[in-house]
Symmetry: D2
Subunit: 382 residues, 4 copies
């Protein structure tokens, strides 16, 4: 009875991100008028029982335990990659070769080299592709983007971003395996750099342009943790914390920090942009607000405005409820699917594409290199 | 393929609340493990085209334009009433007579008398019933309830609540008809009292017990508005603003205010409770936070705590994402459906039942009476 | 060596307010260019030892233990009344008769009748007079006044104010005597009404005009306390809490509440004004900020502005430090002295005069009456 | 008539800091019980008219136009240095040689070498000495210090501080001369590093111990400005912005940033410390509050506490008003004088002494060096 064309989705990986994406596919047509309807065709995971349980909960029609089989299935239009970082490239290359659209969870890849191969592959195959940097589609963040693009801030002087968590402070927390692969360098590639700073960097480049040089430091506070896959106490290979300074190509200065040792902060992604005429800031713990300061206001009445981004004229918000009623984290994924489907119908790329996501990858590489060698690094242009 | 038993829902009315309820029915099984699965069997509205469009968007299987037919359908288990207030009673009485479960949007009724008849009817019919006072199921509000019930606050001295909006300030806004029936006294019964204060009162009674006496004032700032149904400028019959003082039966004092003329506030429902040992406050514009002050903290370190209610141990939150990632307004309805289904399986009533909702109705009546006569009124016990 | 003319001050009472006033007299010439310099000529208190210690700390030249002698001294230009409320009238009448200027701590009097006699007396004697409603001279509050007077808010719909404290919750706290006379009805006249709501009412009338009718409730949570003057447990005669609704003569609605049983709030005086075009709010716990919402801002960028009232162009602030550096509570008294001295040189009255302060007195009387009789009361015009 | 012993102060420089110090000297005995009373003996400035006007306003007994003469005066006990940075050393060396106590405005010196000579000189002369790093004596900051020293935070992982201003964004602002010497490299030595980061570094070392290595970047956004002393457009030699990463000797990571190009921030000094068990943060725009998060709180009730640091048991606050009534910026200087006088009576050094302030100087040097050479620098131990 649906009026939309089906878009058959095959999901690889059913962890935290598998849930956020599945929810987005199921909800998008209730709120957005788009020409396609995602169909949850298959979910793939190494554990047959786990995948079946997930399929039952979310309504996936079938289950696979080998992603290669999923990628080859004729009834799948799009592959959604939600697996640990070290598997993104292999799956994406195969999916591209099979002619599937690809929606890949961030970070795109373990490093720039791997990512470049992925971007080349999807372009060569001519398949639609996008990376789930979901925070671009928080309405307050999208609003920030439009303000900057309109020139409201004028010349930008400063950009600063933090992503602060506190969930790995206990030395008793193991590394590796389900739910904890983010602590395992082999699976994650890096620690907070790829997991959290990648978000900050993606937003920063989107809002403020490319980054030319970086200088960083990293630290691993807990040096050894039990490894769930081996059962043994093993050295921790990831960065628990990472901070870096940078210079954007537009002349502004950047300062970034991420850690999982900031007691009191659960997932506090914040950014602030200071321009000649106006400034803005945002944080994930109150994601429905944008702080905005406009120097053009009457001088005695200038102040930071706390904009409750819930009005119909705010980005995406005319699709939801009424002014004053906030949406949450999960909606960013719905927005990304909505945009993906709108772009599909209009035959436009969906930002960030694999190619666009390479910029973040290049910065991450430079950040990790700088931490190792202790000097400023030039970011490889992509 | 679903493992859950179907619960066939017939929705009457497809406005703003029709959307929030439909969304709740569709999402509950993705997040909550319950024995039933709501099936969107039919939606009913006076406009065939409108109802059809709604059905198509949300996936309702069929459409009715006469609620009496819907109520009589054998394939419907539960009637969800989302129509203007002046129709609740008639529909509910018929649904009860037909043996349907009833989920009725708030306020339950136009007044206590009507509501009492509805409560009597559902009890006589022995049908499950509940009223959508959704704010009880904001996790931060549910947490507040548990803190009070545990005795954390000690003796309560003060309760204050506001519900502030600003959307009707323009005198050009008409009254009546789709989207604007809340301004039409014939359809709504009252203005902010039934629409907004009813929420405040329901929460207050839930948290702090029954109210014995009230004294109120109301005002209608814009005296005449064009009426959409008649096309003529007509007197405005609703209260644009209402404030009242009250005494709770536990000896604490209450102060309530609601208005649609508070420039700068979109839907700012706030409440604060002051107890001997602790206090708490909450507001809808940052609904994912609870402010909490505990006098037992070390004296030099006492301060209002801003609790980000997003941890797994917070009410309902183990069903959603991870700490730090906020949910929004719509989730309160999902929680209500989840509780309704859990109660259905356990054969327990779902709060607030029609009977329980009469307390709020009695206070609303007393408030409106007091505004008219200008003296303190005793709330009729229910 | 001072270029200013001396203004010889005689202070009656040396408690909390004696300190704030003394500080103001000593500091004003360091920051404000005025033609007079307050000279701390004498302090008067019933305890000779206490008065002497105070004089030594603050540099008063002499000490009196009988205010009648102070009032008669030829070398005193101005009498500052900082004693408990029940003594204001007698001292003021004598001071007026002696031709002294009078600066009287708020509330002016025990009631309107007494206050009227005081106003008559100072006018008949032709002596300068003012009441220390110091919050008018918080720069953020003065800024609010100017915004309202300029018409920035347009028609006012709502005014609400609270003054919340928590220092008398313990039933072990005695009443009466030094530091605790505010709990003793004989000395204070009333509880929170005269002590705290008087401030709220003064500001409200100043900002929003006169009040026509009120309806209130009061409560005394702790019914008996040991009395320090008698040594016996005695009934508590003051209101621990008071709330009232009112109608301003400009058609706006008012809602006020004060209590000393709001756990977690030390001295939280807050007010909010909602106008057709803009709203503003302020609170004493962050007194250097004014919250301002302007509906004329670009619609997508509207938000409450947090104005840090520390710029040179903000009221009084060009006399202090540099932008961003906040002043505090005590400065409000310095401002009042500065204005008093400027008015003295210009031969203008200093607001609020005794006559102007009667409006607040009339509202307080009506509020206390209403609480007693339980009905709306008309405020006696003054 | 004063019971305290006189302490004769000679002030050099009468700009912004001259005012804050003078105010502190005049107020300290009204609030603190100390054995000495500062006497404003003389103020010295190159402009006779300017110095005279200042003396008249503040009540200095005499005026000098040559600081060498002031230093030699027998009736002066203590020299207070409030002149531009490039004159601190010469004056301090002379004052030490003359056996005067010295209170030197921050930063101590143009660089570590100069500062070391100053520290050597005061120690050799055996004269009391201190540097006005006033933010240590904000009650909320002093409270933070005591919490860290008590071990409330446990192991420290992160320290971050910002000092953000926006007053030099306009390219029309000149450099040099009265009020603008902070923009003149010859007078100031550096820009935000010495002016603002010095504060951040002093607090950081005080709270979190010494810093071992730093890596920084600086920027001068406006390259040329008219120079008030020459009348010509000249290159700007100061750093408009500076950011640096560092490693503390206790193993924690530091991140610091200061700029005068952060639109919307007037004087926003902020710091945050993340420990294993607790975290705290503070900002100068609401200096009377300390934010505190304690992981030992009940897990469902954890949240950042906003501590209103105005209670009698909070540092310094028993000397001021009553709970809830905030003090401001200027009080930090009063506290420093109070401590200086208490230390004088007890014959203890007053922190930070010149010697202690060298740590900050060493970090500033390393920061400026790192910005120039682009590599990590080891901080010279002092």
């Amino acid at each position: 009875m649906s009026k939309q064309k089906p878009l058959n989705v095959g999901l690889v990986g059913y962890g935290f991100m598998g849930r956020t994406h599945s929810n987005a596919y199921k909800r998008v047509n209730d709120f957005f008028e788009v020409a396609h309807r995602p169909v949850l065709k298959a979910v793939c995971g190494r554990s047959d029982a786990g995948a079946k349980k997930f399929a039952e909960t979310w309504g996936y029609e079938s289950v696979e335990t080998d992603w290669r089989k999923l990628v080859e299935r004729k009834d799948i239009d799009a592959i959604d990659i939600c697996t640990p970082n070290n598997t993104h490239a292999e799956i994406a290359l195969a999916a591209a070769a099979a002619g599937k659209m690809i929606l890949c969870e961030k970070p795109l890849s373990m490093n720039l080299k791997e990512g470049s191969a992925m971007a080349d592959a999807v372009e060569k195959a001519g398949v639609r592709n996008t990376v789930w940097y979901n925070y671009r589609r928080v309405p307050a963040v999208t609003l920030a983007k439009s303000l900057i693009d309109e020139g409201k801030l004028g010349r930008i002087f400063h950009y600063r971003a933090n992503f602060l968590q506190d969930w790995t402070i206990s030395a008793d927390l193991p590394q590796g395996g389900a739910g904890l692969w983010r602590l395992d360098a082999a699976a994650a590639g890096s620690g907070v750099t790829g997991d959290l700073l990648a978000h900050c960097i993606d937003t920063a480049i989107w809002l403020n342009g490319t980054i030319g040089t970086v200088c960083s430091m990293t630290e691993t506070f807990v040096k050894e943790r039990k490894h769930n896959l081996t059962g043994k106490v093993e050295p921790v290979g990831i960065d628990d914390a990472c901070a870096f300074m940078c210079r954007f190509d537009n002349g502004s200065l950047g300062l970034f920090e991420s850690t999982r040792y900031a007691r009191g902060h659960k997932a506090l992604y914040t950014f602030e942009v200071n321009g000649e005429k106006a400034s803005l800031k945002w944080d994930l713990h109150d994601l429905h607000r944008l702080q905005y300061f406009d120097h053009r206001d009457d001088s005695a009445l200038r102040g930071w405005r706390s904009i409750h981004v819930t009005d119909g004229e705010h980005p995406y918000m005319n699709r939801w409820w009424v002014p004053g009623l906030q949406i949450g984290y999960e909606h960013t994924f719905v927005h990304q699917v909505a945009d993906f489907l709108a772009d599909l119908a209009a035959d436009r790329p969906t930002s960030p594409t694999f190619r666009e996501a390479l910029s973040t990858q290049a910065v991450c590489d430079a950040v990790l290199d700088s931490a190792e060698v202790g000097t400023w690094q030039t970011v490889i242009p992509v």
